[in-house]
Structures are given as C-alpha cells and as structure tokens.
Amino acid sequence: MENMDNNQRPFEPYEIQMGPQHPATHGVLKLDLELDGETVIGCKPTVGFLHRGVEKLSENLTYAQALPLTDRLDYIASMANNVVYSNAVETLLGIEVPERAKFIRTMVMEMARITGHLLWLATHALDIGAMTVFLYCFREREQLLDLFEEVCGARLTTTYTCIGGVRQDVTGHFLETLYKFTEEFPSRVREYETLIDQNRIWLKRTQGVGIVSKEDAVSLGLTGPSLRASGVDYDVRKHLPFDAYSEVEFEVPIGKKGDVYDRYRCRMEELLQSNRIIKQCIEKLPPGPIRADDSPDLVMPFSKKCVTADATFKSGVIKLVEDRKHYMEGDVYVSGECPKGELGFYFVSDGKGRPYRMHIRSPSYIHIGALPFLCKGQMVADVIAIIGSLDVVLGECDR
C-alpha cells in the first residue's frame, strides 16, 4: 500500500502478447501490447507467420502459372485477386479483353466482394460477441460459394480468370441462380441490420472506438472501406475504372467520423451496391467470345500469333516469331479495388515469359501498419474491435 501511495499507480506498465494463436486476430497476427492497467500505450504488430514467398515463387513461374498463387493471397475473396492479377499481366502484354469477359469479371469480382464482406461481418460480430450474425452471414456466403463452384470448379481457390479473359463461360443456371440471389439479398442485409445495427451492446463497442481522421487515414495509407469510412472519397472502381465498372451505375458510400461503427456501416452499404452491380452485369451481359484472340497459351507463355511450328513433322520444334514483341519491357503497376482495399501488382518485366520481379501491394499489410496508431489509448477489448474493423487477412499480408 505504501508503494501505491508514492506513485499513484498500482502497476507499472507491462507487456502482453496477443496472438499468434488468438481467435480474434483473424489468422496468425501477433501483437505485442504495452499496457498501463487496461489501456494500451504501445502496440507492435509482428507479421510473417504465414509467409510463403509468393513474390519470389512467381519469378520462377510463367505469368499464367503464377495466377493460382494469387488465390492464396486473400483467400476469402480469391476471385478479386485473380481479376486484378490478370488485368496487370494484360497491361504488360497489351491485350484488350473481350466485352463479355469484362462483364463476367466485374460480376465475379462483386460476388467476391460480397463473400469477403459477409465473412468480415460474421467474424467481426463474433469477435465483439454477436454469435447469431455469424450463422446468417454464412448462409448467404454458402450460396455464392456454390455459384463459384459451378462456374469454375472450386469454391475458394478459384483460378477463374486467365490472361486475356476467363477460363469458362457462365451457364444459364448460374445466371438465373445469381439473379435470384440478387433479388433476395437486400432483405438478407436488412436481417443482419435488425440483429446488430441498433443493438446497444454493438453501439457501445463500436461507436467512438478507433477513430481515424481524414488526414491520418490518407497518411497511414488506408484504402478501401477503411479509408472511405473516414470521409475520403476514393475508390479505384470509380476513379480509375477497370473492366466493366465504367458501364455500371453504383455509388461509393462515404463515412463521417471514421470510427469502427462507420467502417461497419460503409461495408454494409457496399454489400447493397455490389448487389446492384451484379444485377446490372447480368442484365447487360453481351454475347461474344470470352477470351481475347491473342491471349497466351497456358503452356507457351506467349500469344498464339507469336509462335510458329517448324514444318518438319519429327522435330516438333516450336519457334517464336522474332519480329513480334511478346511482353513489354519495363515496369507496370496496376491496381484494383478488392474487398479489403486497393490491391496492386507491380511487375518488372525483362520481356520474357516470367516476371523479373513481382511486388504485391496488399491492403492488409498496410492496414496492419496502421494498428499502432489506432490502438493507442484504447482498451484491450477495443483492440479486437479495431482489428476486426480493418478487415485484415494474414494470407495477403504475409503473402
């Protein structure tokens, strides 16, 4: 007791380790928290527990072979990664994707956004203590995963796009099921809102927690819904439209305060906007080819026009046409709006069929970098809410 009187504090600041085996860190994120009582005064994230060396691996693979690796980045919405990666390689090759493939890509990317946001909502609510939402969200997510299975043969590791288009056309059953889904989905979103939107426990756990101002959000490099919740109107789909985004109508939800509740509201609005985009894509889907004429062969990393077979039957030698440029030399950076934020691929190309260097600008990695700023001065229990609201996926962060 004597000690307490002297410095007015029962405890010295102390450190605890949160993770990597912690259910609320959404994977293998480790946080070294420095605490004063229950208040966080310092936070040091440690990442890299899920490092697989995707960037280095891809240097030894052709562009088409590296595409399945992008499934494993943000593994809860892998369609979106596929689309952005293919867009980047197509820029390098100078291929224009056919109109139908563009609409299909936009459609599957928005489906990926809904699956991503639904899993985010489910786990975020579960972290904060709302169990029921989890079950409701997975009901709808399941429907979309079934549709992924129908169109490409896998539920999570989709590998759906190919360079120059998509691998398989959509079927009538797919379109009809998806259209039915889009018609009933807004009522499902209202169900989630009934459960948590006005719930007083939810409001107390989320409002006024983890506030990021407009300026801070920009300087921390936040993207996606986390940035927009702070009131910055920035969306790659609107400001640098790729695929068919310039041909569909949608709005970008912007938040006011930038706290956890605003980030939640932004994502809920995005669910409805994505639903709107899917509906328009189905209605506007044009007929036509799904792969560009000069899209590269899977085995030979060059387009078919670049290759000539030798005339002799026995030798079977395949030659490259010399005068045609295969891959552009130089650097290219192409980004797209993924569920988590802006995912970018940066290639250094030496004109061969493999990337000389590939860098992935993954939103999760940068969002984790913002954690120390966000957690300072908050309670330990709020750290969980903040991690959840940033929507990090460690597969993408550690890549």
Partner: protein, 216 residues
C-alpha cells in the same frame, strides 16, 4: 454518397429494449423456417460438373490403357510441378509410349491447368473429394492407381465413360477452331460459343449464332 444512420434512441425505445426484442423476434421467426443445414455424412450436396477433385487417368476403352500420348503439356504447365512423366520411343513407329505417370496429390494445388491443356482429354480431375488417409504413401498416384481412380469414380457414380462430361474437356464458350482435335467433343449446346447465354426478358436465354457475328 454519405452514409446515414440514426443511433440515438428515444426514451421509450431505451427502456423497452425494442431493438433487442426485434432481433430475438427474427431468431424466433427463423426457428420455423426451412433449415439450410446439410447433415454432412448422411446427406451430401450434389457437386457441379467440373469440380476439381481427385485425379484420374481416363481409360481408353479400345486399348484398356491410358489415353495419354506423353506430350508433356500437363507436366510443363503444372505450377506446383507435381506431375512426373517418363516415356520411351517405339522402335518401329517412333511413337512415344508412356512408361511412368505419377501425380503427387499432396503437392497438387488443384488449379485444373493439366486437364485444360491435355490435347486428348487423358487426365481429369474427378468430382471425388473424400480420399483422406493416415499416411503420405497413398497420395502418390502412379499410373495404375490413376486408372483405378477412374474405374472407381465411374462405378461409384454409375457412369459410363462415354456419358461422362467435364467442362474442362472442352471449356465452355471457347470456339472450335481454338481447340485441338481431341477436345472437339460433343457437349450440350449451352457450353458452346454458339449457344452461349445472355439475360433477356427476365431469364437466361441462348443467343443465336447470328447475333454473335453481328455483335462483332
């Protein structure tokens, strides 16, 4: 578009716990609706054609052996390099003869590139996903094992070889001229480029070949 929300509660709402009662009411309502749960080992969800599951080499009915011509396309396209192929030359015809075909299923990432590039539709990823085991050895599929997988798959699903169709045997929506002759098989009209579907009058409809050429 700025998001709008109202979180301030009135006095009555506050003391009557209205929002919590609404949530509980929703749960109560769902109690009487149809369950979406599938009791897995007893019930199974039907898979869609083209699900990328257990590997198999299709048995050629005329020879009883694998269809594979040892062109090495699957081995060279495989991103995880899990396919090993060895072949020898026939002395008389100089044709390639398959001597070894191995797939390490534990290395495989199930991207489906091998079945897509196969010019004779010899390899296929079947719609079979329950093949766990306690050791690593059963997952090194050699040629005999892969052919067995195919027989087992046909038997289990009561299929004949001619009737089995996989979207990777002839990718949907790819024109005939882009495919090697072995992949130009008969498929349902919806899978072809000519019969591709668009949304019209509130339902998915096949579009006629004329319209495609006009669009171009």
């Amino acid at each position: 578009m700025e998001i709008r929300y109202k979180t301030k509660k009135g006095f009555l709402e506050n003391i009557l716990l209205l929002e919590i009662l609404k949530g509980l009411g929703l749960t109560l309502k769902r109690l009487f609706s149809k369950s979406v749960t599938i009791q897995y080992p007893r019930e199974r969800k039907p898979l869609f054609p083209g699900f990328r599951g257990k590997h198999a080499l299709i048995r050629d009915l005329s020879t009883g052996d694998a269809k594979c011509v040892a062109c090495m396309r699957c081995a060279s396209v495989c991103p995880s390099r899990c396919i090993t192929i060895r072949f020898e030359r026939d002395d008389e015809t100089n044709a390639r003869r398959l001597t070894r075909y191995e797939i390490d299923a534990l290395r495989c990432i199930f991207c489906g590139y091998c079945e897509e590039v196969c010019p004779v539709n010899a390899i296929v990823l079947t719609e079979e996903y329950e093949y766990s085991d306690y050791t690593r050895a059963p997952f090194l599929f050699d040629k005999e094992r892969l052919l067995e997988n195919w027989d087992e798959f046909l038997k289990k699903n009561h299929l004949e070889e001619k009737r089995y169709l996989n979207p990777f045997m002839r990718p949907r929506g790819i024109s005939l001229k882009e495919l090697p002759s072995g992949k130009r098989i008969d498929v349902p009209k919806e899978w072809t480029l000519e019969g591709q579907v668009i949304w019209r009058n509130g339902k998915a409809e096949s579009v006629s070949a004329k319209e495609i050429s006009r669009e171009e």
